[in-house]
C-alpha cells in the first residue's frame, strides 16, 4: 500500500494549520512571515497531490505561479520588514499597530 492521496492532504492540512496557528500566536514578524510561506507551501502540496491524482498538469502550473508570487512576496515583505525594523527598532508586530510612527 503506497502513499494515498489522503495522506498528502492530511499532511498539507497539518502544515497549513501549523502555519495559521503560527501567524496568530507568534509576535515576531519574521516568524509570521515564515508561517505564511508555510501555508503557501501547504497549498502547493495539495496542488501537486491532486495534479498527480487526476493526471492533470494544471495543478503543477499553479504551483509555479504560487512559488513565483511567494518569491515576489518574500522580496517585498522582507524589504518592508527591514524598513520597519529600521524605524521601530523592533520586530514585534504589536508595536506596529498604528501606521504612522
Amino acid at each position: 500500500m503506497g502513499p494515498q492521496l489522503s495522506w498528502y492532504l492530511a499532511l498539507s492540512a497539518i502544515l497549513f494549520t501549523i502555519g495559521v496557528v503560527g501567524v496568530i500566536i507568534r509576535r515576531n514578524v519574521i516568524a509570521m512571515f515564515m508561517c505564511i510561506e508555510l501555508m503557501l507551501n501547504a497549498v502547493n502540496l495539495t496542488f501537486v497531490a491532486f495534479s498527480s491524482f487526476f493526471q492533470d498538469v494544471t495543478g503543477q502550473l499553479f504551483v509555479f505561479i504560487v512559488m513565483t508570487v511567494a518569491a515576489a512576496e518574500a522580496a517585498v515583505g522582507l524589504g518592508i520588514i527591514i524598513a520597519s525594523f529600521r524605524n521601530r527598532e523592533s520586530l514585534d508586530v504589536d508595536d506596529a499597530s498604528v501606521m504612522k510612527l
Partner: protein
C-alpha cells in the same frame, strides 16, 4: 400699407444720442455739447415723426400704417416676434406728442441739470428713455412693445435713482421697478394668452412676412359675455384683465400706484417726462391699442372703469393734503390717469387718448413749472416754505397759471375739453360694459367729485406757492430733514427766475395747454360756434379703434358661460360673421355717431355742470387757502391712507420674515441639511461601532480572517453549494 425706413430713425436717433453721451460725454465734460447732442437726437425724432405723420401719404392721413420691418427677433416654431415698427394713426398721434414734449423737456433739463456732476449720465439715460418709449409706441407686436415697456421701466429706475447717494432715491427706484414688474407679470401672461388664442402677437397683418394680426383675429371672435366667470375662462376677458394688470403697474392704478409718488425722488424733468407726460400713459396706450380685445371683454372693461374711477378719486383726496409740491402733482397724475382708465373702461378710447395728450401738455407744464420753482428756490420742495413767488418768478407763475386752469377744467383751456369728454362719455355709456345704466351715472358722479377735488388741490398748490406771505425767509416752519446745510443755502439766496432754456419750454407748453384742447372740440360744443365743427382727434383716431359690438347678449343667467367654457379656453369662432370691423373708414365712423338733439342738449348741460364744478372748486380752494395756506389737512390724507405701511405690514414684511426664518433657516438649513447631516452622522456612528475590529494588531486581523474563512467553509459544508443557488 407701405414700408419706410425712416421710421426706425425715430427710435435709433435717441439711442445713438444715448450711446454718444454715455461713452464720450464722460470725457467731454462740456455741458453745452452734451446738451446739444441729447436735444438734437430727440429733435431729429420729432422732425421725422412730424414728417411721417403729416406728409402727403403720412400716417395720420392714410388708413394704412407705415411699417418698417428691421429683423425677425425671435422665431421658434410658430412663434414669431419681429423687430418691426409701425406708425398708424394711434401710434402716430402718440409719437407726435411724445417726441415733441420730450424735446421740450430735454431743453428744459439742460437748464435744470446745469452744474450736476452726472450731467452726461443724466442725458444718456434720458435719451435711452426716449428710445424705449418710442419703441413701446411704434412696436408692431406685443413682444416688442414689451421690450419698450420694460425699457422705460429700466430708464425710470435709473433716473429715479439718479442721485445715487440718496437713500430714498434708491428705495423709490427699486420700488418703482418691482411694482412695475408685478404688472409686467400680467403683461407677459396676457401676451402668451394672445398668442395661444390667435397664433400671432402682431398688431398688424404683414402678408409679405406671413404675419397675421392678432387684433384682427380678436375682432373676428364673438364677444365674451358679461360675467365674472369670463375672467378665468381663458378668452378675451382673461387677456384683457392680464394686460390691464400690466397697465395698472405702468400707469400707477390701484393697487399698484404706490411707486409713482415715491418716484418724485428723481430729478424734476424726469418726473415731467416719464412720470407725467409719457411713460405712465403707456398703459392707456396699450389698452387703446388693444381696443379690439377690450371691446370683446365687457367684464374687463367694467373692471378697468371701476379701478380707474376709484384711483381717480382716491389719489385726488390724497393730493389734497400733500405739502411737497411734486407729491401734489404726482397724486394729481395718478388721479388723472384714473380718468383715462375710466374712459377706456366705458369704451371712450378716443377720449382717453385725448386726455393723455392734453394731460401731457399741462402736466408736463406743471411739473416743469414746479421744477423751475424748485430750481429758483434752490432745491426746496416743501410748499410750506414757499409763498408769494409770483413776484420773483413771473414767467413761471404765468405759465403755471395756464396749467392750473387747464387741469381744473376751465373752458378754452385744454383740460376742459378732454375731461369733459370723458365725463360725458361716462354719463352716456351704453350697457355693454356696465351691469346696468345706473353705473354710468355713478361713475360720472365719482368723476365729477374728482374734478371738484382736482380744482381744490390745484388751487391749494398754486396759492401756497405763488400767493400769500413769503415764507421762504422764515427759519423753521416745520421740522425739516435736510438740516443746517439746506437752511444755510436758503438764507443766502433769494428766489430767482429761471434762465431762458427753462422758461421757453414752459411758454411753449403753456400755449399748448391753452389751445391744445381745440383738436378735440366735441360736436355739441363746436356746433355752438361753427356750422361744421371738426373734431380732429376723433376723426383721426376713430378708424383705428374698435367699438362695442353692436348687439351683445346681455347676460343674466340665460347667456351665462357654461361650465366647460370656464374650465377651458374658448374654442375660436373664426367662421361666424365678424362682430366688429376693426378698420372701418372714417365715413363709417362719423356716420355711426349721429348727433341727436337730445344728446346734444344733455352734453351741453353736462359741460355746463363741469364748468360750474371747476369754478366752484377753484373758488372754494381760493377762499380757504388764501387765508390759511398752512391749514392742517386730515392726518389720514397726509399719510396717504397708510397704504405703504399696510403693504409693508401685510405683504413685504411677512414675505421677508417667512423667507428668512421659514424657508431659509428652518427649511433649507434645518430640514434639508439637517436630514443630510443626520444621514452622515448615522454613517459615522455606524463606522465608529465597527471600528473596534480594526485595532491595528496584525495578528487579530489574521485571527479574524481565520474565523471568517472557517465560517464560510462551515456554511458551505453544512448547507452545500446550493445555498447560493449554484448547481450541486
Amino acid at each position: 400699407m407701405h414700408e419706410n425706413n425712416l421710421l426706425s430713425l425715430i427710435i435709433f436717433a435717441p439711442l445713438g444720442g444715448a450711446a454718444i453721451n454715455w461713452f464720450i460725454g464722460r470725457r467731454l465734460r462740456n455741458e453745452k455739447i452734451i446738451g446739444i447732442i441729447a436735444c438734437s437726437s430727440v429733435g431729429i425724432s420729432t422732425i421725422i415723426a412730424f414728417y411721417l405723420a403729416f406728409n402727403s401719404n403720412g400716417a395720420l392721413r392714410s388708413t394704412e400704417p407705415i411699417l418698417d420691418h428691421l429683423w425677425t427677433w425671435i422665431q421658434v416654431g410658430r412663434f414669431r416676434a419681429d423687430f418691426g415698427l409701425a406708425l398708424d394713426r394711434l401710434s402716430g398721434t402718440y409719437a407726435l406728442f411724445v417726441t415733441f414734449v420730450g424735446f421740450l423737456i430735454h431743453v428744459f433739463a439742460v437748464g435744470y441739470m446745469h452744474g450736476d456732476s452726472g450731467f452726461y449720465r443724466f442725458f444718456a439715460y434720458l435719451n435711452l428713455f426716449m428710445f424705449a418709449m418710442l419703441t413701446l409706441i411704434l412696436a408692431d407686436n406685443f413682444l416688442l412693445m414689451f421690450v419698450g415697456w420694460e425699457g422705460v421701466g429700466l430708464c425710470s429706475y435709473l433716473l429715479i435713482g439718479y442721485y445715487t447717494d440718496r437713500k430714498e432715491a434708491g428705495d423709490a427706484a427699486k420700488k418703482a421697478f418691482i411694482t412695475n414688474r408685478v404688472g409686467d407679470w400680467g403683461f407677459v401672461l396676457g401676451l402668451m394668452l394672445v398668442f395661444f388664442l390667435t397664433g400671432s402677437i402682431s398688431f398688424f397683418a404683414k402678408p409679405e412676412h406671413g404675419v397675421i394680426s392678432a387684433l384682427q383675429a380678436f375682432a373676428g371672435m364673438s364677444a365674451d359675455p358679461f360675467t365674472w366667470k369670463a375672467l378665468f375662462a381663458g378668452g378675451a376677458t382673461s387677456v384683457a384683465i392680464l394686460l390691464f394688470i400690466g397697465a395698472a403697474g405702468k400707469s400707477a392704478q390701484i393697487p399698484l400706484y404706490v411707486w409713482l409718488p415715491d418716484a418724485m425722488a428723481g430729478p424734476t424733468p424726469v418726473s415731467a417726462l416719464i412720470h407725467a407726460a409719457t411713460m405712465v400713459t403707456a398703459g392707456v396706450y396699450m389698452i387703446v391699442r388693444c381696443s379690439a380685445i377690450y371691446t370683446h371683454a365687457p367684464t374687463a372693461m367694467f373692471t378697468v372703469a371701476i379701478i380707474g374711477a376709484a384711483t381717480a378719486i382716491f389719489a385726488a383726496t390724497i393730493g389734497l393734503a400733500q405739502n411737497d409740491i411734486k407729491k401734489v402733482l404726482a397724486y394729481s397724475t395718478v388721479s388723472q390717469l384714473g380718468y383715462m382708465f375710466l374712459a377706456c373702461g366705458v369704451g371712450a378710447f378716443v377720449a382717453a387718448i385725448f386726455h393723455v395728450i392734453t394731460h401731457a401738455f399741462f402736466k408736463a407744464l406743471l411739473f416743469l413749472g414746479s421744477g423751475s420753482v424748485i430750481h429758483g428756490m434752490h432745491h426746496e420742495q416743501d410748499m410750506r416754505r414757499m409763498g408769494g413767488l409770483r413776484k420773483y418768478m413771473p414767467i413761471t407763475f404765468a405759465t403755471m397759471l395756464t396749467g392750473w386752469l387747464a387741469i381744473s377744467g376751465i373752458p378754452i383751456f385744454a383740460g376742459f375739453f378732454s375731461k369733459d369728454e370723458i365725463l360725458w362719455k361716462t354719463w352716456s355709456a351704453g350697457e355693454f360694459s356696465l351691469p346696468s345704466l345706473i353705473w354710468s351715472k355713478a361713475l360720472w358722479f365719482v368723476g365729477a367729485i374728482t374734478a371738484l377735488l382736482t380744482a381744490v388741490y390745484m388751487t391749494r398748490m398754486m396759492v401756497m406757492t405763488f400767493w400769500g406771505s413769503e415764507r421762504f425767509r422764515e427759519k423753521d416752519i416745520d421740522h425739516h430733514e435736510e438740516g443746517d446745510a439746506a437752511q444755510a443755502r436758503h438764507n443766502v439766496h433769494e428766489p430767482h427766475e429761471s434762465p431762458w432754456v427753462m422758461t421757453v419750454p414752459l411758454i411753449v407748453l403753456a400755449v399748448l395747454s391753452t389751445v391744445g384742447g381745440f383738436i378735440g372740440v366735441p360736436y355739441a360744443l363746436g356746433s355752438l360756434f361753427s356750422d361744421h365743427p371738426v373734431n380732429y382727434i376723433e376723426q383721426t383716431l376713430e378708424p383705428v379703434i374698435s367699438h362695442d359690438p353692436v348687439s351683445v347678449p346681455h347676460v343674466e343667467g340665460s347667456h351665462a358661460v357654461d361650465e366647460m367654457q370656464w374650465l377651458s379656453p374658448k374654442p375660436q369662432q373664426l367662421d361666424g360673421p365678424p362682430a366688429v370691423h376693426a378698420l372701418e373708414g372714417p365715413e363709417a365712423a362719423s356716420a355711426e355717431h349721429a348727433h341727436s338733439p337730445e344728446e346734444i342738449r344733455q352734453e351741453r348741460l353736462l359741460a355746463l355742470v363741469s364748468v360750474l364744478i371747476a369754478a366752484f372748486g377753484i373758488g372754494f380752494g381760493w377762499l380757504i387757502f388764501q387765508k390759511r395756506p398752512l391749514l392742517q389737512m386730515p392726518r389720514i390724507l397726509e399719510n396717504k391712507y397708510y397704504v405703504d405701511e399696510i403693504y409693508d405690514a401685510t405683504i413685504i414684511n411677512p414675505m421677508e420674515g417667512l423667507s428668512r426664518e421659514g424657508l431659509w433657516k428652518l427649511f433649507d438649513v434645518g430640514v434639508i441639511d439637517g436630514f443630510l447631516h443626520a444621514l452622515g452622522d448615522a454613517v459615522t456612528e455606524g463606522g465608529r461601532l465597527v471600528r473596534h475590529m480594526q485595532g491595528g494588531f496584525v495578528r487579530s486581523y489574521a485571527a479574524i480572517i481565520l474565523i471568517g474563512a472557517l465560517v464560510l467553509i462551515g456554511f458551505f459544508a453544512y448547507f452545500g453549494a446550493h445555498a447560493l443557488g449554484l448547481p450541486r
